[in-house]
Symmetry: C2
Subunit: 245 residues, 2 copies
Amino acid sequence: LLGILGGMGPQAGLDQAARIIAMTPAQSDQDHLPFVLFSMPGEIADRTAFLRGEAADNPAFAIAGQLQKMAALGVTVVVMACNTAHAPPIFDVVLEQLRERRVNIRMLHLVDETVAFILREHPCLTRIGVLATPGAYRTNLYTDALAVAGLEAIVPDEEVREQLLHAAVYDPGFGIKATPGAVSHEARQRVHAAVLNLREHGAEAVVLGCTELPLAIEEHSIEGIPILDPARIIAERLTCMLGAE
Amino acid sequence: LLGILGGMGPQAGLDQAARIIAMTPAQSDQDHLPFVLFSMPGEIADRTAFLRGEAADNPAFAIAGQLQKMAALGVTVVVMACNTAHAPPIFDVVLEQLRERRVNIRMLHLVDETVAFILREHPCLTRIGVLATPGAYRTNLYTDALAVAGLEAIVPDEEVREQLLHAAVYDPGFGIKATPGAVSHEARQRVHAAVLNLREHGAEAVVLGCTELPLAIEEHSIEGIPILDPARIIAERLTCMLGAE
């Protein structure tokens, strides 16, 4: 049984589930992969605020608590629908908590799976643009994982991070987290501008390294640059992995 | 904690969750209503096949088993994202099973909530068109609930039911259940034609009485006829009910 840990934000959790359903070859309801989706956002503090040092509570403890409940339901494989939650200061504590609580569950890693996908499907690319939250940049989440694979991460400068990306995701008026059902034109424009900025800096592909971003960009490529969506990559991996069982 | 019993089909479960998220006034992840969504379609036999007498197993037992697991997680209110599962031969057995298993959970009723909405929001209408599955028609699911409220149900004749509706939902090639991620033009056309057929028979509004149908019709009205989506109606009800707690 697959578990999707959503709520970070709620729409991103649904989006992850939708991608899995869309990729499953099925003729009837009964052919689809079974999953449970947890969306209890009030329990899980903002990941970026913690990584920036603006909030003291590590969301890892609430995440581990929800994973423990999933395991009790029979869940054996989990994907967390939030890139930033994979930053080591959070993810490592989640794994440690699972060991301490003796929770036997396999965690798919959104970032590592994305890097593996790039090596497999785009073997000639070397400079990978990364759009992410300030929390992910601060912890070098994608930068480190790409470096291990011999790839260079192209990240935007501070101004683009704050004015375009952080605002597009978090602004209480037009941000994607504030209007998840109907992403604003303003948010779309800023994410689009951030992609073009990375292209100018030499990116040969761009990873949407925050689960909110694919809600604002549906294109598979922009001006010749492939747009890589970790939620889609993990959906493909899961349908292979669990479909073959 | 809200429970959404999905998987009937999987996309309809996500759609129900998406409508709740879209209707919740929120500025951050943490403002959203907590919910768990179960999508284990392999366990729950087809509702229409059972009601038509083509399958012996009542899906009510598997449904009750999943609701029991939800209750153990702390779920107190549930909506089943499937109109047909509310037909008395299934729904009454679910309630009976919950009593027997001493599961204390409140079941929102998609059909009764829809009829209440019509009385409240469209008090001048008297003839309500109903698009549904053969299983729902056979058990007079909407017809009886509308009659209790003094409203007349307009239902399509046998040919429209089979050629347009059943095919649009269940056809293994172009049916909505077979291609949930991207509804086919063929399925859209048939649902649309069924709406027009009900209009010709005097319907003043049309209820999309199968959770698959709103995936094929996004319009709020067609040629002046209001299109009523039970998933949207229940989402509004839930956000009021749980948001006010």
